[in-house]
Symmetry: D2
Subunit: 303 residues, 4 copies
């Protein structure tokens, strides 16, 4: 498999960050987070409150129709002892196994999750993703943990209401939210977008994954050009659905594939919003599953 | 299911923390971590270096014989496009699913993982764990994230060599390690024990899960009585194997079931040890799988 | 585990076949199929036509809401070669894995699948079914293959139309169908009931598993008392849903638990019906999964 | 996807049966089994004895190192009732799920399992097998059930001992076995080879899948040219391992890919051998899993 870039003739003529951290880089925009960003972020801790930003994971966690739900199997449980299983030395235990799609609940998209024109971020070839090995390039295990400043952009507060299906969040909206919070984006920030969508969908029996509010291509490109390290939202795809006519997942293509920025989807932001804080220490670390295209995880806002 | 304690007649006559946080508590020793502990820990960040303490997860990750390895399946990958799958709007993506035992790699034991005498921590009944529902009490989704001071006790440095199979780490050893680092344990600390075992086993084809160095019951009890929030180690069970004669997983029984302290197993500590730091901001957050007895996770030391 | 019947005090006061083949028997009514039944059935082959009676299995195969669908994962496929996987000696191969609930599609219920009053068929205790071991008694691997006379009872022809949701098939209906076909039931027969339900549900997006036509308790008891070896139908539970008031799966309780007769659910009978044959060589063999409560399978009618 | 043969320029210059049943055929050598073969086979039933030829399936069933073992999970079991689960109307039930590689235990290889030069049997392209869809051509659901004459070739009796690792079964050996049994091969026969290997490996803790006795290429080609419908054996690959120098799975390539003959691997033949019968009614029906490359199954010899 030729996955070196040395003699490669493919040219990405869109704005991108390919080669910015060298031809063998697999960390992408997470490289924006250096020791200074970590220290700055740690210095934001004031009250010591910790907010979990993850949805619960179970067979009830909504998934698109083409994915299966999480299955949780007990290999040993209290019932087995009730039914007479031996308790050597008085000891009992329980254990379990999950069958779990990796893009479920609150999860991060690895840089190998989405691409176009047969090339992934940093010019890696799509041939590097196979059934036999998973992703040999840009797998989620190559993604450094995010320990950085989190910036909450509260589009719900900006609009004065939760956003609706198909409602676009533009660059101007993002700038207005920043202005309202008195903050400016800095390289390495984790930007979290509050759309209200997950809360709105909370009571819906059969979630429609084909429509949601989110950012458009211009907003995604602008964020990427601010050198943010990751972008998250309380919806399922970060970007607005349906897409603009003639495009397919344009924000995924721009942000993940061109700029190497992971997306954090399915965030639960209401508890954070209620605190009134817009900047905080943000920590998110994926499971290091070799060759995986994403991972559920439990991001934290440390206030 | 009667899982209230109100009219319960069972009495735990061993040292324990039952009822300490009320009869309905499911967080156990994690309650020792309050805002002050979080703030103190954040204040330990000096260099901004972030160290991942997790093993890679794959079908090669060692598991005991009675558990199956992780399986990682690609539902869509680059090969499918190479074979002619359509690329609407130029867009391509890959996704995947794991079959994963929850006590694999670097993982945390939830408080429902181990018990004795039919009673779990805080007097919950073992009947609360069933195949149909998982753990309705003390499941891993009830465990708060750990954001606290991490204290590395380097038993390898203390001994001058990696520990051997079956080698006991005593309370005196722990105290000597603390003394050497100039630290004292405080309520809410996350104690990480460096035994060298994971590194030693790194090249072993067929890991033997029946023998390893670790703490004995007295050491576990002492740690519990210092009000630590969690105990981790770079071995598979934290405690020494084989057990002292006549006992079965005595540290699990004491620490998890009597004191409500989660165990963090399979840590990869060598990169942390090499930094020379003994205290740091420690962050670990399990996947919130409803009713699960544990979860792989990626703990971080933030220096 | 005390699973012997010798000193047992439980008494089943309903009509049953417990003890009929000895206290250690796990084959139940399949014992009615002896060499004479096999030879008689083989003698029914006239045209040499073979009809498969199984539904296709895929993620589209309908399952009740509390079960997950089948998942089929390719571990290696043609796409991997298209993407560059090596072909040693020119050789290529593909392989795959399923996650499959065992009561899916066309499947047989093992005798451990359903019971009441804590006792399974032949007085085995429910404690013999645990998470750790599956069913140590009456598992599907203990079920002999069915090679016997198949008798098609065409209730659709009898009614002149496919049956409707909740429509009862009574003993009188069964006798009328037999009369119409000029056949009499004999010990060891495999009785297949044509309700038309599977064909009716074929185009339904979201199958309702709570209502269907099927036999009532009296019809099930009558079949059991004819010493049939198994009962199948082209619906999901053989018996009528909803149940008669005050009962829960009364046919399952009577037929499986009291008489040791396996149920064959989800049969695809239309191709057989079209042949006009009412008796034939019937062959059905479950996967011998140790301790399983059922198995998908491909029953055959050999005409 | 262009999977029609009409304008195809690929030419298979080895002996083969491509196109023999038309360019759209997916049943291959199973087409040799017509109504006459079925009737002839049914006429072989003499004693009415039925012999199961399948291994038990469990986590103990041996699999090659690159495959995971079967996992069997109880979703509901007797322990749950022992722990207090409700029993509406006195009714109880148990159900379960498997995670199962499809080439495990006694299983059949579908015609899409193995190929070379990017072309499957009948000139179908390897691109027809993808992660997203499985095999769209030659999947196991396209394979007709085998209801035909079974012919046991007892190489163990011929040799006077169980065969050893790497021991070749030649065309002359097959002819000698046939001669000893007084039988001749006829089109549509299911040929079962008794090597003794499965019995020999029965007590082996860690089965070596890289060496076994079996047929060589010339023997496989000869069987194919006799127009047999399928070839089975009591080993793991039917063919001798290791391969002849310079070849990789030559029998798979010849038999499956060139002649469209499915292989039946991991047969348990000792109970059949003990009956002394060499011809019988043979029945084997795979699970109709859409797009699968194989299926465990329970073949029967009906004597």
């Amino acid at each position: 498999m030729a996955d070196s870039m040395s003699d490669d003739t493919f040219h990405n003529d869109r704005p991108n960050a390919w080669g910015r951290w060298g031809p063998e880089d697999e960390a992408g925009a997470m490289n924006h987070i250096g020791p200074e960003q970590v220290k700055r972020a740690a210095g934001l801790v004031r009250t010591g409150e910790v907010v979990r930003l993850a949805q619960l994971l179970s067979h009830r966690t909504p998934v698109p129709r083409h994915r299966a739900s999480l299955q949780h199997f007990m290999g040993r449980d209290g019932g087995d002892y009730a039914a007479g299983a031996k308790r050597p030395g008085g000891f009992q235990f329980a254990e379990d196994t999950v069958v779990m799609p990796l893009h479920i609940g609150t999860h991060i998209d690895a840089l190998c999750h989405a691409w176009c024109d047969s090339r992934l971020f940093n010019n890696y070839r799509e041939d590097s993703l196979r059934s036999t090995s998973g992703a040999t390039r840009l797998g989620v295990e190559k993604m450094p943990p995010a320990v950085t400043r989190g910036v909450l952009l509260d589009v719900v507060a900006h609009r004065g209401r939760p956003l609706e299906a198909g409602e676009v969040i533009s660059r101007a909206d993002l700038e207005a939210c920043l202005c309202a919070s008195g903050l400016q984006l800095e390289p390495g920030d984790a930007v979290l977008l509050h759309t209200g969508w997950l809360a709105t969908q909370g009571g819906v029996a059969d979630v429609d994954f084909n429509t949601e509010p989110g950012i458009d291509h211009a907003a995604g490109l602008w964020l990427a050009q601010q050198d943010v390290a990751l972008i998250g939202a309380d919806n399922y795809a970060v970007e607005v659905l349906p897409f603009a006519p003639g495009t397919v997942f344009p924000v995924h293509q721009c942000v993940i594939r061109d700029f190497g920025i992971p997306l954090l989807e399915g965030l639960q932001l209401e508890p954070l919003v209620r605190t009134g804080r817009h900047e905080f220490l943000f920590v998110a670390a994926a499971l290091p599953i070799v060759g995986a295209t994403g991972s559920p995880l439990t991001p934290l806002a440390i206030l």
